[in-house]
Amino acid sequence: MVDTALIGWSRAQFALTACYHWVFVPLTLGLAVIMAVMETLYVVKKDEFWKRTAKFWQKIFGINFAVGIATGIILEFEFGTNWSNYSWFVGDIFGAPLAIEGIFAFFMEATFVAVMFFGWNKVGRKFHLAATWLTGIGASISALWILVANGWMQHPVGMEFNPDTVRHEMVDFWAVVSNPVAISKFFHSVLSGWMTGSVFVIGISCWYLLKKREIRFAKASIRVASAVGIIGTLAVMFTGDSSALHVAKYQPMKLAAAEGLEDGGPRAPFSIVPGVEIPGMLSILATHDIDGFVPGINDLLDGYVAPDGTEVLSAEAKKERGDMALAAFKAYRENRETDPAAAAEAKKVLEENVEYFGYGYIDDKEELVPDVWLVYWPFRIMVGLGCFLLLLMILVLWFERKNRIEKMRWLQWVSLCSIPLVYMAGQAGWIVAEVGRQPWAIQDLLPVKAAVSSLSKGAVMTTFFIFVAVFTLFLVIEIRIMINAVRKGPETGAEDGTAAVEGAQAGDR
């Protein structure tokens, strides 16, 4: 029997790596756009001020970039080291996006990031600008392919189970790539990176305003970042809405857990916090219809009849179908070389029940309910902070345009203090997505306990603590280096300071 402690430590290790990875990646995605816009302004306006501004944020980007790569490589190989059964069972589908990501996105990033950092005096201005944009595009395409893979785990499509090779095999690449869950997830994640980059730039810029230094630089950075951030946040909200529809349709247990909804029904309420609800709001979010039926945790465990008359099986019934699928699989394997008729019969039963294959590994229906607390609260943190940060960016842009931002010390403080909040929102989002998926590695097909490698608990515990130490060390060092770089400032020379404000107002607007 697979050791439950091994599963727990393997999950913890992957979660640790993913969470740390998502500390660094969104800033990379967001800063890439912001600094590319700034460099574009430099090339268009031929104003050295924009070059120095872009170079400062590129320096911050560089400090952050390497740690994102370092945590990313661990994530990729952990699919093999910690989830070896998963790697075989779904590698035929999952591996392809990962390889495409490497061939196209990573090489684009790797090639042009070197030009961006070291090429200012080696290549032409336009080539350098192209390199900066291509670095950002490469980073975003990297996210596309890994999120196609992740979206497939949430909503597996475009494949068939092959009992001869004992794995799921891809039969429709386009279905995998155009998976609506993956598309929403891609835009939701990448654009949340724009939010992160924007809030980060606004916060640092406000620190300069609080210190009454680098005024022109700070205001110009705020202007670009808040514009990018507002666009990103509005798009995040839009894609969040489509994500909610997908979750309701394909992962109803995740939605029920995120809402703490024990018993569902039509006109389901949205819980703001326990005890405070908006009637009918959850139905609107999940189905775009106030009368829409949203199943609760108990409905999903006990089974229910949907408003359109579809009977949704109970957990026990799904478990029975999963057991039948596993038994048929074994029968097929035993008979395929000796008794073709028995093998054909077993294969037929397997095909009829394969959509519940993963339930064959489930021992108790309670396993099917993710940790409600760990999904409910992060969802509220994500949505609440997202709304707050949108408001903040609108306010910052408004007061900057009115030339009042320098006097709004409270807003400068709020902006500075909001930097950790945008990270909390991002982390919370991934916790909702991934904890809400439990117990599944692949929704309905492979639970995490059947996906794990055959390792000792001690080995995984050891590497968990090694990674905790290494990643934490990197994070602490990164923060210290960034603080030093910010204190040192952008070195925008004589153009900085209050006198430059007038120039900014006259020249840049």
Binding site: M1, V2, I63, F65, A66, A70, T71, I73, I74, F77, F79, G80, T81, S84, N85, S87, W88, F89, G91, F94, G95, A96, L98, A99, I100, E101, G102, I103, F106, E109, T111, V113, A114, V115, F118, G119, K122, F127, A131, N162, T165, V166, E169, M170, A327, F329, K330, R333, Y361, S453, S454, L455, T463, I466, I477, R480, I481, N484, A485, K488
Partner: protein, 381 residues
Amino acid sequence: MFEYGFLQQYWWFIVSLLGGLLVFLMFVQGGNAMIFSAGKNERQRQMIVNSTGRKWEFTFTTLVTFGGAFFASFPLFYSTSFGGAFWVWVLILITFVFQAVSYEFQTKAGNLLGKNAFRIFLTVNGCLAPLLIGTAVGTFFTGSDFTVNKEAVGDSLAPVISVWGSGWHGLEAVTDFRNLLLGLAVMFLSATLGCLYMINNIDDRELVSNIRKNLPWAAGGFVLFFVAFMTAIFLSEGYAVDASGTVFMEKYKYWHNLLQMPAVLAIFLVGVFSALYGIAKTIFKDGYRRGIWWTGAGTVFAVMALFMLAGYNGTAYYPSYSDLQSSLTISGSCSSEFTLKVMTYVSFLIPFVLAYIIYAWRSMDSKSITAEEIETTDDKY
């Protein structure tokens, strides 16, 4: 258009090519291994770090792509080796992770550990990563201790397909001297490539003179261990597969493979002679700087040939010495025909990727790194 058998062979070729490119690009590791031995003062060390530092992401990305391509085309290898030889891969990853951050962190104020600590990380990665990767690849010829049982998926209590036999989870590979020979050969090869790359990339008489002094030692080590490994492998039994898929031991299997596949023999010989030519010309001709291209190309060819020897001509490329029939073969461990076909179409775009890499590389390397540049520019590590 493409038959399944062809696609399987094609993807083993692509994996072999990526393996060859990865070993070539480990000139980054080789260069870093000499930060303290060739760099006699701070300026020289900075030049070495900046020379390899502008290429490290290619090596890193090739490693990631090598892993990704293996995952996509031979998922049973990914599952068996990474999940089984756990400690070897974790150690390799940790050294690369430290390398990734060390460039950026080493000279930055507030880096907590000090400049030298990060340079030591680079040096450790420079030695250990090629050694471990070479040792791990050695098991492609010597075998590992694992079993593969696909029936396990039907067991709801113990569904894991690939199970490693040794509790050392891969570290036991060092107990076979042939694996160590390949590890040492790759380590010295990367040092050789590092010398040749820096001779080409750095324009500093004193530093280049130091590097040139290191070159014969690195190249000598490489030749010694490479010849020893090849001799040991050619004289050993190999893991052969018959038409029914049954794995059996065959004496001199890898030598037979070399003779029975003239194209691979040609690739191997071209690779070895090209590598040696680049080394010899750089050692014996003062001022010659283009050795990296001869030896680099030779490395790609020779490593490709090694992978081909391990996988083609009815050979189990990832053998199990504890359960012969669990050994992984190209046809038994690859992805489905559909996936390989999709991936093959994708691979046709690789020349486009190579083209922009070459263009950007040439643009960046049109001028060699000089002490003056390091002293005057802000665009450096």
